[in-house]
Structure formats: structure tokens, C-alpha cells
Symmetry: C2
């Protein structure tokens, strides 16, 4: 037992170092996106690359392998077993992929990124296609190194969602697709006339007042400024630790509500990070349970709080304070404006809460078939457009508005897209469970009282870190594993009301 | 030759990694001082500590030792020889000090820092004394590991100034002391009535206008914003790389000129960093030649530009634009205000350009004697006060205003103080040489044209990185090694004029 304790302490030292290098890298990345002058890129790229290499060296260090071997033979209590399980998962994956393949993928992504930017801007899929082919090929080889006997897409999906079985995720996405497609059909056929332009009709909205409004919103939601910041970034994100979790946003003078919902979304990510236990910093118990659960937190706050009737009944006066020109907007109109569905929209990042899932399912199906070898890169534009027509009833006229719109594949990120929708369905499950447990949650949201909701999320999700695997974590919080049912019920009721279906 | 080339390339890879870890650490430190919310400290301390440990591991890695051994036997061209010389110096020092001693010093400093803060606030040297004793002891042991046969203070001085012999530095400081003490005596006896309060009489000065004034000043001096930033920090500093060198400052509503000169000082540091060659980033040829030369750049811009008659003749209108209340201040009054000598001042960081050196010489003499074992910690307060009386004609009434005022010793930094004065004398040498080479430099300063001065400094100092050792670098730029003579001549003339001596 004493040897195991020593080995466990040594493991924690090693993992602490890994965490610190990884978190240091995040600080550099935040700085690059938020603060760094443009001239800084050459040195910053090298610094980020060195920290990645140092992290990889620490993760594949023989000493870590020996510690994990020692600990697998000893009987560990639950928390320690969870720590060892999580470190081993990451370590085993890292050691079985040759460094030169990792470097080739990194170099190919770098070239693909440049090619993608040009291809998108010129609406020329042909110039991007060879890069996409190369990345598909390299990532298939990557998957083969990890496990030659399994579906390569499954292996890649686990890069982002390591402990939710792909078959389970696939069921969820199929359920979602089969429920959302007819709902969007009904909405398209509806005569309901929503107050889509309730706010935007009163623009422009100056950036300074928008920023003040974001701070008011974050105050109301309970963001602890002594452990956070709000800054501007071209592509909003949240990053940090339980001691310092930062939010970024961007401003569009035509639309303050876009910035608001984006800020609330990133705030949701930050609350998860802040809710991780302080004393577990540097161990898997102090780290978030992967992308879907992270996204569930951002979507819960963005959609189930920030797009709710109760929130707008309470928060609208703050918007009027910031922009007196909108004083004739009613809470119902505000609610309609933030929830209007636009089936003609072609762009994922501009999609509403409902059609968003169809954008994701389409990408999931295409990337899965690419990686499995069931689809050729050359077929992607046509398949994309066919699926858009089949799921959303619209057909992109250009690839720039179609299969070239997202950056993910040029990074070699195959398996990432599903986590957005998975997060969204988990958000619906969690919100239902929270509403069952918290008496008068709706009234609290209206009154700007969020302590109970924060406590519920911390108690049921945040404080566990990576203690439980994904389905187990969700089951403990809601009574069932990851499922699309709660979202489908929620969306059916919500859009049924809005569109008089 | 091919083997040596391979080894040299491997060395550059290794040194590039070292540089990137070190520069990443600087970004984290900048963030901590400028951006980080206060709650972030626990995680940030761990991240900084891990990056230090990673750096130390890379520096003491056997592979680096082998590469350096291989390269010492091969004949290298000049630049490569300089790179190997600099890496070897740092590596040899690191490998001969046991890790546990480094860790003990780090832990002792951490405790000493807390004790020093309390002792200073309570004016109670006794509570700090045991911590100072421990640090003196640990640092002597540190020096003994590096070289048991040499003066331990010399060894510690080389931590900050590795290639300027201590005996040389000591001569410079003695010359300085022997010239400045009688000059300050004369000033104290002078009847001259300088316009000390020319600006401060018109306060307060709001922070927002002060910041705009700083940006105007940095624009005028030629700060390249695409490679820099200006922010606020409690203790102003500059940090970064040739691609991104940032400036910080702080504001006092009673005195905008303090912020201005501090900003110009940090700008001087930043210009050095920015002048290092881009293509040598990650090697010693792309790094600054230690602290004295760095300080020479900040002092040159602060004192020889920012405190000059010509600068104030040109820049005063910008101050009036920012603060119309000062429109009755003449350029001569402004010049007097920024150059007034106050021999009664007890605090180093508030000292004028002249008496500053006596504060340094005093610290240098005390820390040298402490480390050499010629002075007991218990004697420090009395010796400090005696020297203050002897050099400056004033005696502190408390240790808080005396030997407890500076943070350096509680960090275990013995040998650091001299670099401030050494930088200042090199600044005077460089400015003389630049004025000889640049026709009409004074007129250019008045007109706000700084291109020639930037070019001269880049050509003679910045672009060399660590190519030459300190005296050689200064000799190539000015015709002689580091010397106090130019400063003494400059100060004698300047203060002779100001104080009608």
C-alpha cells in the first residue's frame, strides 16, 4: 500500500506538470487571440509549438508509463481509480501514435488552413480537395495506430468525447434529425409572424454601450469578476482554470443580442470551469468532462436561460437602459426575436437553436463516411448540398456557403462537430432535472436570482471533474444517460407555441 | 565538419526550446501583473513553477551537455562560437547547483518575501533578519557550488552580469561614488531655486488624459504598435521578444511626469528587445546582452532623451494639449522640474538621476560585504544609516525608509543592484558616441525625429544580441569599455548649469 501511495503521489506530480504546461499554453493562446499585437505571431507560434512538444514528451515519458503500470496492479479507492483511468487513457493514446505522424498532421493542417482560406474566399473547392484528402488519409492512419481493429471514425470521435460510445452518440443524432426535420417543415409552413427584428430595427448600437450591457448581464448571472475577465475576441471563446476562467465576446453594431447570447454562452463554459474543485487543480478530478458536457453548460445558459421567456421578462429593462431606443419592445417580442427560426439560413454559426442540429447532423454524416472510406472527397460538395435540401429545404448556390464554410476539417478535426449537438441535448436534460429540483426556478430566472441554479450545476456536474464517465455523470444528474428526448420535448413545446403548430 | 554542423543544428533546436519555455513564462508573468484577476494566483504560481522546472530540466539535460562537448572540439565560425559560449555558460552554471538547493532558495525567498512585507510595514528589522541570514547563507552555498575558489559575491554578480568582471564594475562604482558625493554636496549648498513644482502645482491630472499623453509620447518616440502594447502595472516593466515587446506604466493623479519618464524608460527597454534580429529569435544572438546593457537602453531614453532640454522644447506642447492648465510652464521650467535633485530623499525608486547612484553604491557595498562574510546581518541597519549620512547627508529615522525599503534581498537577489548604475554610465557613453556620429541629434530630439538614434542603437547594440561580451560590445560602440567617465562629465556639466555651480 505504501508503494502504491508513493506511486500515486508521483503520478500526481507528473500530472500536475502536464496540467500546468497545458494551462500555460492556454494562457498564451488567450493572449494571442485577445491581447497580442499582430507582429507577435512568429515567436508565439514557436512558443505554442514548444509547449505542445513539452506536453507530448511528458505524456509519453517512460516514467509515467511505469507509474501507471505500478498503479494498475494495486487496488485503489474510487477517486484514485478515476484519476488513474483518465491519465492512462490519455497516455496510452499518446504513446501509440508516432511523433512523426503527429508532426505530419500538424504540418498538413497548417497548409490546409491556408488553402481553405483561399478556397473559401474564391469559392473553389478543387484547390482545397487535395488537402482534405491528405488530412483524411493522415487521420485514418492516426486512428489505425491507436486501434487498427476499430472503426477509425469511432477512434477519432474519442479524441473529443473519449468516454461516450459512438453508437450511443449516433442514436442520439439520428433521433434528433428525425424529430427536427419535420418540426422545421411545420415551421416553414406556419403563418406565424414573429417579431424577428424587434431589436435590430432600432440600430445601430454602439460598442461601448454593448460592453456595459454585457457586464450588467454577467453581474446578473453571477459571474465572479475576481476570478474572471471579459474581453473582445474575433471568435469568442472561454478559457482558464477554476481560479481564473475568462470570457470573450465580439460586438456587431447592428445587433447587440448576438453579443449578449454569445457572452451568455461563454459564461456558461466559464461557470463549469469555475465550478471544478479548487483542491483538485492539476488532476483529472479538477478538469472538465470533455467537450459535450462543456457544451451542455454553455447551451444551458444560452438557450434554457438566455432564450427563455422568464429571462426576458426580467432582463429587458437592462437592455432598455443601455439602449433607450428599444423601449417599445415587449418581453414577448424580445422572446420571439431571440428564438425565431430561419430555415433558409445556410451558415451553421448563424443558425438558430433548432436548425443548428441539422447543420451538425449533416457534417457528422459526411465526415463519418469520409473517414470510413464510404465517401470520396470529390463527392463532398454534392452530398452536402443534397443533404441541405433534404434536411432544411434549401440548397447552397456556392461551396463557400456550403461545404467550405467551417474551419474544422482544415484543422484535421474529424469527430468534433457531434459534440455541439450532444451538448445541446444534455443541456435540455440537465435543465429539466434542475427545474424539477429547484422550486420556482422560472421565477428565480425572472428575478435574476441564479444561486440555486449555480449550486445545482456545481453539485451535479462541476464538482465531479472527470470522476465519472459521460453517461454515468448525466445519469447521476438526470436519472438517464445522454438522450435527445428532453430536447425534442422542449423544442416541440417551445416552437409549437411560437409558431402556433 | 558535417558532424559539427549536425550537432550545431541540434544545439539550436534545444536552445530554441529553452528560449520558448522561458518566453512563455514571461507571457504568463506579464499576464499575472497586468491582466490576471486576483483569484488566479494559486494556479498561476504552479504554472510558473512548472515552466521553471521544465526550463531547468532542459538546461541540465545530458543531451545538451553532450552537444556542447562535441562542439567544443570543433572549430566554429565567430557567430557559432558565440552561441556555444553563451549556452555553455548558462548550462555549466545550472548543472553544478543541486536541484534541492535551488528549491530551498526558492522556498526561503517565498517565506522571506512575506516576512519582508510584514517587517517593512511594521518597521521591524528583527523579524526580517533571520530570513535575510538564511538567504545570505543559501546564496553563499550556491556560489560555492558554482566555483568554490572564487569570491562568492563575484559569482552571484555574474548571475545578472555574467561577462563584465566584478573588479571592473567595482572600479566604475567607486569612481561614480567619488564624483557624485561632492557634486551632491555642492548642490545642497547651492542657492539656485529650481521650478521643481512646475507641473505638480497644476494637478490633479486625470488618468485618462495621462494615458493619452503616454500614447502621444510613444508615437513621437517611434514605438511600433504592431509589435507592442501599453498597459498598466503596479510596478512598471517591459517584457517580450523582438516580435512583441510590451511596455507598462502606472499613473499618479498628482504627477503625470512620473508616468511619462517611467513610460519612456520602459520604452527604452522595449526598443532594445525590438532591435534584436528577428531571424536569431531562439538563439543567444537574438537575446539581450544582460541587465546592464538593457538598463543602458532604458536610461538613455529616460535620461539623455526624456530629461533633455531639446526634448522638452519639442514635447511640452503635447503636455499642454493633454493638460491645458500647465500652459504657463516654460520649456526651461519643465527641464528644471524633471531634473531637480533632492538630496533629502531617502527612497531609491523616488531618487533623481544623480543621487540614485549613491543609493546603489550603498546597497552594493552592503550586499558585497554580507556575502563575503565581512558584515553581519544584524549590523545592516546601522551601516545603512551611516552610509546614507556619509553619502547623502541624511539619516533615515526608520528601517522601513532605510534598509527595508527594497524587495531585492528578500528575493535572494544579491548582485543585482549594481546593474542599475552600470546601465546608467553605459547610457552616458552611448549617448556621447551617438551624438558624435549623428549630426544634429539635439535638433532631431527637439523635432521629434528619432529614426537616426534608433538606427544607431540598433546598429551598435541591438542587432548583436549576445554576440560580444559586455566590455567588447561597449568598446565597439564607443571606443572604450564600460566607464563612469562619460556620466561624470555629463552630470558635472548638467548639474553645474542647473545649480549654478
Amino acid at each position: 500500500m505504501s508503494d502504491a501511495t508513493d506511486a500515486y503521489d508521483d503520478l500526481l506530480d507528473h500530472v500536475g506538470r502536464l496540467t500546468n504546461v497545458s494551462k500555460a499554453r492556454e494562457v498564451l493562446s488567450w493572449d494571442q487571440q485577445v491581447m497580442m499585437p499582430e507582429g507577435g505571431t512568429p515567436a508565439r507560434s514557436q512558443q505554442l509549438s514548444t509547449l505542445s512538444a513539452v506536453h507530448h514528451d511528458l505524456l509519453t515519458d517512460d516514467e509515467l508509463g511505469r507509474l501507471l503500470d505500478d498503479l494498475s496492479e494495486s487496488s485503489l479507492e474510487d477517486d484514485r481509480a478515476a484519476v488513474v483511468r483518465e491519465v492512462r487513457r490519455e497516455q496510452e493514446r499518446a504513446v501509440c501514435v508516432p511523433t512523426d505522424l503527429v508532426e505530419r498532421i500538424s504540418a498538413a493542417s497548417s497548409e490546409a488552413l491556408t488553402a481553405w482560406r483561399e478556397a473559401k474566399s474564391a469559392d473553389d473547392f478543387e484547390t482545397f480537395a487535395p488537402h482534405l484528402e491528405e488530412l483524411v488519409d493522415l487521420k485514418r492512419r492516426y486512428a489505425e495506430h491507436v486501434d487498427p481493429d476499430r472503426d477509425p471514425y469511432e477512434v477519432l470521435f474519442e479524441e473529443y468525447e473519449p468516454c461516450l460510445p459512438l453508437s450511443h452518440a449516433e442514436d442520439v443524432l439520428t433521433t434528433l434529425r428525425d424529430a427536427v426535420v419535420p418540426l422545421v417543415d411545420d415551421i416553414r409552413a406556419s403563418d406565424a409572424d414573429l417579431a424577428t427584428d424587434a431589436f435590430t430595427a432600432h440600430g445601430p448600437f454602439d460598442t461601448e454601450s454593448q460592453e456595459a450591457l454585457m457586464r450588467t448581464a454577467l453581474d446578473r448571472l453571477g459571474y465572479p469578476w475576481e476570478r474572471g475577465r471579459l474581453d473582445i475576441a474575433p471568435h469568442p471563446f472561454s478559457t482558464g482554470t477554476q481560479f481564473d476562467a475568462r470570457v470573450t465576446t465580439r460586438y456587431d453594431e447592428a445587433d447587440p443580442i448576438g453579443a449578449l447570447l454569445s457572452t451568455v454562452h461563454e459564461f456558461g463554459h466559464a461557470t463549469y470551469t469555475l465550478g471544478l474543485p479548487d483542491d483538485a487543480y492539476g488532476t483529472p478530478l479538477g478538469e472538465a468532462r470533455d467537450l459535450s458536457i462543456h457544451e451542455s453548460q454553455s447551451r444551458l445558459w444560452e438557450n434554457h436561460v438566455g432564450r427563455s421567456t422568464a429571462f426576458w421578462e426580467g432582463f429587458l429593462p437592462a437592455v432598455v437602459d443601455a439602449f433607450p431606443g428599444v423601449d417599445d419592445v415587449s418581453p414577448r417580442e424580445a422572446y420571439e426575436a431571440v428564438n425565431a427560426v430561419d430555415p433558409t439560413n445556410l451558415i451553421r454559426v448563424e443558425a438558430d437553436e433548432l436548425t443548428y442540429h441539422l447543420h451538425i447532423v449533416l457534417r457528422f454524416e459526411i465526415e463519418r463516411d469520409l473517414i470510413r472510406g464510404d465517401l470520396d472527397v470529390s463527392e463532398v460538395p454534392a452530398v452536402w448540398n443534397d443533404k441541405m435540401e433534404s434536411y432544411l429545404g434549401v440548397r447552397p448556390e456556392t461551396d463557400a456557403e456550403g461545404c467550405l464554410q467551417d474551419i474544422h476539417w482544415s484543422h484535421g478535426n474529424f469527430g468534433y462537430f457531434p459534440t455541439y449537438s450532444l451538448g445541446s441535448v444534455v443541456a435540455a436534460q440537465l435543465f429539466d432535472a434542475a427545474a424539477d429540483d429547484i422550486k420556482g426556478l422560472d421565477d428565480q430566472i425572472r428575478a435574476g436570482e441564479f444561486d440555486s441554479l449555480h449550486e445545482w450545476l456545481t453539485e451535479n456536474i462541476h464538482r465531479h471533474g472527470k470522476r465519472y464517465e459521460t453517461n454515468e455523470l448525466v445519469r447521476r444528474a438526470t436519472g438517464e444517460g445522454v438522450s435527445a428526448d428532453a430536447f425534442v420535448d422542449y423544442a416541440t413545446a417551445k416552437y409549437g407555441d411560437l409558431y402556433e403548430l
